[in-house]
């Protein structure tokens, strides 16, 4: 027990000695760190502003919560809007087949064809389901997302889009692609088990 006390005292003395030897290094450390950080973080940045908003202030926690809540709400609304607009073309996950191919209450299946083509004058889809005669897509919102829902019985279909007269055979939402006449056709299966309405 005596030996352990001695050992502990020796260690404490040693540490105290070490700290005393390097104490001058700690002088002004806080100021130096602050200066260093201020040099790295751009003044007036968005992050800086956000930190000032979130940091405890005299406005109190209720105000902070309100700011955070409103921000979250804005992001949620924006997310829902963008997700609704873009999920059919696959930029956001979430069961593309359930979006693209639907089954009605009567059991009839259909396919939603979606082609992002901002500025296009006409967009159509051709495939073995329509004898390769163009079925037009529409863009009622003028947001550049052209769509058409076509009733199709379950099966495998090859198709391509025609955008202002140019064939586009690689639909990003297709189940696959095949070579055809030196170009590509997209392939989609309609009526898979598990596809929802």
């Amino acid at each position: 027990m005596n030996n352990e006390d001695n050992l502990e005292r020796m260690l404490r003395d040693s540490l105290r000695h070490e700290v005393a030897r390097d104490a001058f290094r700690l002088e002004g450390l806080e100021k130096r760190v602050a200066t260093e950080l201020s040099g790295r973080v751009p003044r007036g940045s968005v992050w800086d502003s956000l930190k000032r908003i979130i940091a405890p202030t005299s406005r109190g926690r209720a105000a902070q919560l309100a700011v955070v809540g409103v921000t979250a709400l804005v992001f949620m609304v924006l997310g829902a809007f963008i997700g609704n607009k873009l999920s059919p073309i696959g930029l956001f996950g979430g069961g593309r087949h359930s979006i693209q191919a639907a089954v009605s209450a009567s059991g009839e299946t259909s396919a939603l064809f979606v082609m992002p083509a901002p500025g296009a004058k006409s967009v159509a889809v051709v495939g073995d389901f329509n004898g390769w005669t163009p079925t037009p897509l529409s863009d009622p919102n003028n947001d550049g997302i052209w769509t058409a829902r076509i009733p199709l019985p379950p099966g495998r279909y090859e198709y391509a889009f025609i955008v202002d007269g140019h064939w586009w055979g690689q639909d990003p939402l297709a189940d696959g692609y095949v070579h055809s006449f030196g170009s590509y056709n997209s392939v989609r299966y309609i009526g898979r088990v598990g596809e929802g309405a």
């Binding site: 051709v126 073995d128 379950p154 099966g155 095949v178 055809s180 006449f181």
Partner: protein, 247 residues
């Protein structure tokens, strides 16, 4: 009086609608009349074969009429137009399904592909299969793959052999397997990779058998996949390659 007049008007409208609907139905005769737009030298053979196709349900009048009209309007040569029609007719006479041939012809016409390429394909840097090669693929799949493995079609007399499938089911398998092989050949992949070809056949058949209303019955898919081997598919694919080189 007003009531009677309303009923009369309704009856006239219904009758007119029925007349228009019935008038819109395309018959084989419409197809034969449309053939007159093309000066064919083998018209009787084509009409006979098409008649067989209509009777067996392998040809659908409205789609065939659309094809003939498109061919007639195309700026290609009469020889190529007749070549396309004769290839389809030959396949029908040979008891083959022709959906694949009609579909590829329609696609080629929509893409403005020259008729001689639609018919004969192209063996250049970009490999394109024409109707001639596709018909050979159908024959090879039926004879060298299915028949060779003991999978038959119930004959026209209705007699069934050991493993016989109804014609529509048999036709569908022939069409799908031939289409997979044609897609494989056009992709530029090696005909010697039988395992990859088998994998693609398997994927196609299983996908089609797992739909809400299966296009191919699961038992048919299982039967074919159990009997064919990668090496069998290699032989069939090599045949299709051989026809490309000859054309």
């Amino acid at each position: 009086m007003t009531h009677i007049r309303s009923v009369a008007v309704a009856l006239i409208v219904v009758a007119a609608a029925a007349y228009l609907a019935l008038g819109a139905v395309v018959t084989p005769n419409d197809v034969y009349h449309a053939l007159d737009k093309i000066p064919l030298t083998h018209r009787s053979e084509i009409v006979h074969a098409f008649g067989v196709g209509f009777s067996l349900g392998r040809l659908v009048p409205d789609r065939t009429l659309q094809l003939v009209n498109r061919l007639a309007a195309d700026k290609g040569t009469t020889a190529d137009k007749e070549g396309i029609l004769l290839t389809i007719a030959h396949a029908l006479e040979d008891d083959l399904p022709v959906t694949l041939l009609i579909d590829k012809t329609e696609e080629g016409l929509a893409r403005n592909v020259p008729l001689y390429v639609i018919l004969n394909g192209s063996g250049g840097t970009v490999r394109i299969l024409g109707l001639v090669q596709r018909e050979k693929a159908l024959v090879a799949v039926r004879d060298d793959l299915l028949y060779a493995k003991g999978i038959f079609c119930i004959s026209r007399t209705g007699q069934a052999t050991a493993t016989s499938l109804p014609r529509t089911r048999f036709d569908r398998i022939v069409t799908e397997v031939a289409d997979v092989i044609c897609d494989y050949v056009e992709s530029g992949a090696s005909p010697l990779d039988g395992h990859l070809i088998y994998q693609q056949v398997q994927t196609r058949l299983e996908n089609l058998s797992q739909l809400r209303q299966p296009v191919i019955l699961p038992e048919d898919a299982a039967l074919v996949l159990a009997r064919i081997k990668p090496a069998d598919l290699t032989e069939v694919t090599k045949k299709v390659y051989g026809f490309i080189n000859k054309s």
